[in-house]
């Protein structure tokens, strides 16, 4: 872009409507720079996130073994029909995802909140407690799966030893028994999730205006009333973020079950079924993509909720 024409347009435009939007004052060279600054990240985002999302939708209506592009055959809604009617792991996976959400929402998240409330008080050693509860947040869920495997192990795990059943026939195989392994995995996931929630709520609690609490206590509210009627509602932005994180985390749950047994035998999750259909012997890309689209559609609920909260105001203005 040559500088002369750039300054010319700039001069002409600023003469017309000087005080309006800053973009009017950009020189031609600035426009190129801005185009680069916006264009490159947007292109990356489109090519590696949004186009694949659209392709997933397209592939879900086809039959494909994943070999040659010419093998792609249209299949209408066959994949969805197959998943709903003839694919045994699907409904258990849906149940497990729901269970995952309910468990995180009713146990792990409240536990994190409780820890935050307790640690927010003027307590000795609060930093040490915080560090302990926060440590698992630094670890990947895959690694957490391995660490808890050592703890849950049937014959050599600490848990069975503490229960006195290690080495006996009554010993429980916590990750292997399909009746209980989902609960065992949820406890391990809670180990991480509660610390995450705790740290976010600690920041939220610090941000609550202390005069609110004072006013409540002057009005004669006790600690519990003050918390639920005053402090908790005042943390609304944090609450929304926690809700979104909890929902999305339960839809994204994958690593831990994949490490344990690739998401089979009691640990089926939609995300794991997607991958099982994409890799391995009978690659059924269409079925895997249909599962991915189901996951996408469910995910759009918390995503839309969050975006409307985060951007609602700006869009209006």
């Amino acid at each position: 872009m040559n500088a002369a024409s750039g300054t010319k347009t700039r001069g002409a435009r600023s003469a017309q409507r000087a005080p309006r939007g800053r973009v009017r004052r950009l020189s031609g060279r600035d426009k190129w720079v801005l185009g680069f600054m916006v264009g490159v990240p947007t292109l990356i985002q489109l090519v590696l996130v949004w186009i694949p999302t659209l392709l997933s939708m397209a592939l879900s209506f086809t039959r494909w073994n994943g070999l040659s592009l010419s093998d792609i055959k249209p299949a209408g809604l066959d994949n969805y029909r197959f998943i709903a009617n003839d694919y045994p792991p699907f409904w258990p996976a849906v149940q497990h995802n729901v269970l995952w959400l309910v468990f995180l929402a009713l146990i792990a998240t409240p536990l994190g909140l409780l820890l935050a409330i307790l640690l927010d008080q003027n307590i000795r050693g609060t930093k040490i407690y915080q560090s302990i509860f926060f440590t698992p947040v630094m670890l990947s869920l895959a690694l957490i799966g391995v660490i808890w495997q050592l703890f849950y192990n049937r014959d050599n795990g600490l848990l069975n030893f503490l229960l006195g059943t290690a080495g006996t026939p009554q010993a429980t195989d916590w990750f292997g028994d399909s009746n209980i392994n989902i609960w065992a995995a949820l406890v391990a996931a809670t180990w991480r999730h509660a610390g995450y929630v705790m740290i976010l709520y600690l920041a939220g609690l610090k941000g609550v205006d202390p005069t609110l609490r004072e006013a409540a206590s002057i009005d004669g509210a006790n600690a519990v009333q003050t918390f639920f009627r005053v402090v908790f509602p005042a943390m609304r932005p944090v609450n929304i973020i926690i809700i979104v994180i909890t929902v999305i985390e339960s839809l994204r749950a994958f690593d831990i079950v994949y490490v344990i047994n690739r998401g089979t035998n009691g640990l089926e999750l939609i995300s794991a079924l997607v991958i099982q259909n994409l890799v391995g012997e009978g690659q059924v890309i269409g079925v895997g993509s249909a599962l991915a689209v189901i996951l996408l559609v469910i995910s759009l609920v918390p995503i839309t909720f969050y975006l409307s909260r985060a951007f609602g105001k700006e869009k209006e203005s």
């Binding site: 916006v38 999302t53 392709l55 302990i132 030893f161 976010l200 004072e214 994958f254 996408l296 995910s299």
Partner: protein
Amino acid sequence: MSADQQATQTLPALPKVKGQNLSGPARGPGKKHFGIHIFLIIMAIMWLIPLGWTIFTSLRPKADTDKYGYFSFGGSFNLDNFVQAWTQGGFAQYAWNSVLITVPSVLLILFFSSMMAFAVSRVSWKFNVTLLIMFTAGNLLPPQVLAAPLFQMFKQFQLPYSVSDSGNLLNTYISVIAVDTAFQIGFVTFVLSNYMKALSPELTEAALVDGAGIWRQYWEIIMPLCRPALAAMGTLQVIFIYNDFFWPLLFIQSGDRLPLTTAVNNLQGQFLSNYNLIAAGAMITAIPALIIYLLLQRHFVAGLTLGSSKG
């Protein structure tokens, strides 16, 4: 609750901490907290057990646990399992692979996100909010949604064998770096744009009067002011990328090219039922994250709370 409100609320929250504790509930430290301490101590012990057990197991030689049992203190404690995992178990290679993936990804993420954040927050134009929404939404998708098309796209992308021994983008670090970058720029752009919005508009307007172009406003004025946010995001992203399990699992087929986090998936098969060695491998994988936490805790927590939109 709008994005900028969120930023201005979280930004001044940190220095407030001390003053608020003083003016907080009138209860002093002491007797009233006795029950709370008991509860917290029990919870803390429960929290430490899984990692403690892993460390304990990893420090004991296999021969000693075979002899005395896993639930004993008999025998010696040393780092032999760590040495064995590091040298024979391939963990030195996995650790290097983690570096090769994490460092370029984080640098690219910070570079692209800061440019995008600058463009959407400091310059007003038609689609800036729309694009920002698209970026933020992208980061919230479950990665599995993109798995099949990305895998196939990379498989179809022909490369000379001198560049990639698979003849395409699969089994290369480039594929993992590219997708990690694309996936995370949405989140970092969102956080940095909130941060930049909170900076006074006069900063760049003054520069504009002086004739500074867009690039100079970005690189010489805004970026230095964003150092705290960049440090926080950098730390957070190092942990996120280091802890990423899924993309290397999907794209990398050769076991010796996996990063640590994905390689732990093969521990059981690799070391059979040598739990001491598995524990050492797990600890080697945990240590980098724990070291970063110890050194950069402040930045990491700031990063989480700054942009707690992360799923």
